[in-house]
Structure formats: structure tokens, C-alpha cells
Symmetry: C2
Amino acid sequence: MAAARARSGERRAEIVRAALEVIAERGYRGASLAAVAERVGLTQQGLLHHFPTKEALLVAVLEEHDQWDTGGGGGRDGWRLDLLEPLVEYNAMRPGIVQTFSALLGESVTEGHPAREFFTRRYTQVRAELAGVLRAEFGDRLPGGLTPEEAAPLVTAVLDGLQYQWLLDPDAVDMPAAFRGFLRLLGAR
Amino acid sequence: MAAARARSGERRAEIVRAALEVIAERGYRGASLAAVAERVGLTQQGLLHHFPTKEALLVAVLEEHDQWDTGGGGGRDGWRLDLLEPLVEYNAMRPGIVQTFSALLGESVTEGHPAREFFTRRYTQVRAELAGVLRAEFGDRLPGGLTPEEAAPLVTAVLDGLQYQWLLDPDAVDMPAAFRGFLRLLGAR
DNA sequence: ATTATCTATAGATCTATAGATAATGC
DNA sequence: ATTATCTATAGATCTATAGATAATGC
């Protein structure tokens, strides 16, 4: 045959990449296995050989992009505040990934959604790590008398909220500039 | 028969209310007409007598709750900054509505989603009105040198972003308190 | 006559299972 | 023997249309 048989790991990676795209376009509930399969030149049943269920495929997508959103800049755990702005800048160049993330986050608040626990855990962790970073940078008090623990959910909220506004209307919202504005509010220079 | 025939307007209102609930639970794409119909004691085909298509029902839901999110507090156009905090407080008491809104916002960034234009327009309008409110309150410069136009998308982002964190983990996030913290950052008392 | 509702049903999908076929690795 | 894929198909759904039936309002 023309194409050599890809090793299983490569095939799985291809499928995860395709799933990421289809989820960006239609969300998880709207994404069909057939659409993902077609994108990698497989039948839907062929895809199910690599991932036994649709949910298993979603889990693989979530694991693959575990460093999403707030983690991309600085490696698994050691975030630094000055790496958040470059991360936002980077995200502004890959609307596809941001759209997948945002669509999944939106869906995840509905009942019994398979990504719900993932996001819940992730936000708990992100808030805790951000609080640590903010304390290291600003000490125990930020402008307005906020503690780092009070500011951390706001940083996360701004990151996510700006993504929605930007995805809906990229020309109307300069996501990195807006985020820099927020950092100035926090007192960073 | 037992129940008197409801006037059409009442029936439609019942259906819209049921649709709101089902969308909160499953999102728009995941919400079936049959599930909505069942909730008001109709068959799926009976429901389609009142709304000719599923999309028409969504439009009715969006129109009914046009004052969603940022509008509830102060009447159609005249927002005031000091009514935002009570609005967040009010939202914290109705997770259902917030969940419907958040699920729809998340879905709306996917391709060809029927609510996309609604949200795009809405955010454009919300940012403009918030900028006006911020200018009236703070003048041309806010902390960090932000202009009202730079701060407006941040206010919106914080409102939306906090909702997701709160829906995912209500015990971990005190939404009104977090929002008050953000207002203190902006320099309001 | 119009309005509200129902039954019947067409026509698409969708996920997942069963089982065949062919290539690869011992 | 195992791995990758395919064909066939079961069993659920889902939206929407067609057409019947019964009640309401002139």
C-alpha cells in the first residue's frame, strides 16, 4: 500500500489532533466520531480501535493539553507572573486551541459532562498556584487591599472571559492588550 | 378535560421556561425538543406547533432573557456601576439561569452556532455601555492609567469568568465577594 | 375557520458491537 | 499472535413533515 502503517502512538496522536479540531468546530457533544475519523482517513469503526469510546477520546484530548490556558508558558508547575502575558500573546495566535478549550469549558458546566471534573480540579489547582505566584510578587496585600487568594480567581476569570470576547469578535478585542491593562491594575509594571 | 386550554402566550412562556432548564442541563445542541416538550406535558410534535423549529425556540429563549447577565440590575439601558454588585449577588442565587447563559456562551464560539451573533452583538453593546458608566464614575483615567474603554472588557470578562469557576465549584468560589474585590481594584469603594 | 394537539413516519445521524481480512512481529 | 482496519448492523435518538381529531371563537 502507499502509506506505511503508522505506529500506534502516531496514529493516536493524529486522532487526538483531529478531535481537537472537530471539538473546536462543534463542541464535544456536537462532535461525531465519524467526523474525527474522516479527518484522519479512517472509518468511525477504525477510530474506535484506538479509543474504545468517545469519552476515552475526550480524556486523551484533555490529557494531551493538560498545560492548557494557564500552564503553557512556564512548564508544569513553576509559573511566573511575567510569563502570563506572553502566554496570552501566544494564545492570540492559535484561535483553534483556544476555541476548543472555551467550548469545552462552556459545555463542562452542564450536567454529567465528562470534562466537568477535569475543569473543576484544574481551576482549584490554578487558583492555588496563582495565589502563590501573586504572593511572591506582591506580598500579602495587592491594590485595593486584596489578598493573593482573592486576586487569583480574578486573574483566571479575566483570562477565560477575555477569550470568549475575543473568539466572538477578534477585531473588537485586543486580548493581549486588555490583559496587560489588567496586570497594570494589579500593580505590575 | 381537567386543565383549561392555556392561552397561546402562556403556553409559549411555559415552553421557553422549560427550554431554559433543559439547555442548562444539556446545552443547546444536547437539548432535545422531546425533553423540553415532556417538561410541559406535550409531545415533541405538539411543541413544534408553537415554535416551528428548534432554532426558533432558542431565539425565543435569548429574546426572553435579553437583559441577561449585565442588564438585570438597572433596566434596559441605564446601568450604574453600583448596581453590578447586587446583580452578581442576585445571580449567585439563581444558578440555573447562570448555567443556561454560560453553557450557551461556551457553545456560541463554535462554528455556525445560532446564538453566536446574539452574543457578539450583546458584548459589543455591553462593552460600550460599561465604558460609559466607568467614565461617568471615574473620569478618563482609572488605576493603572486604564481608560474606561480598556477597563470595560475586563469587567465583562471578570463577570463571565467568575461564573464558570463558581458553577464548577460553588463552595470554592464566593462569586459576589470576588467581584467586590475586583471593584476595589478599580478604585470603587 | 382557527388553534392546539396527537399519531404516524420519513430520513438522518450517532455510538458501539460483531466478526472478517490483511499485514506485522515473533 | 497481535494489530489495524473494514463491512455490516443493532438500537437509539433527533428534527421535521403530513395529516387526523377535537375544542374554541365567530
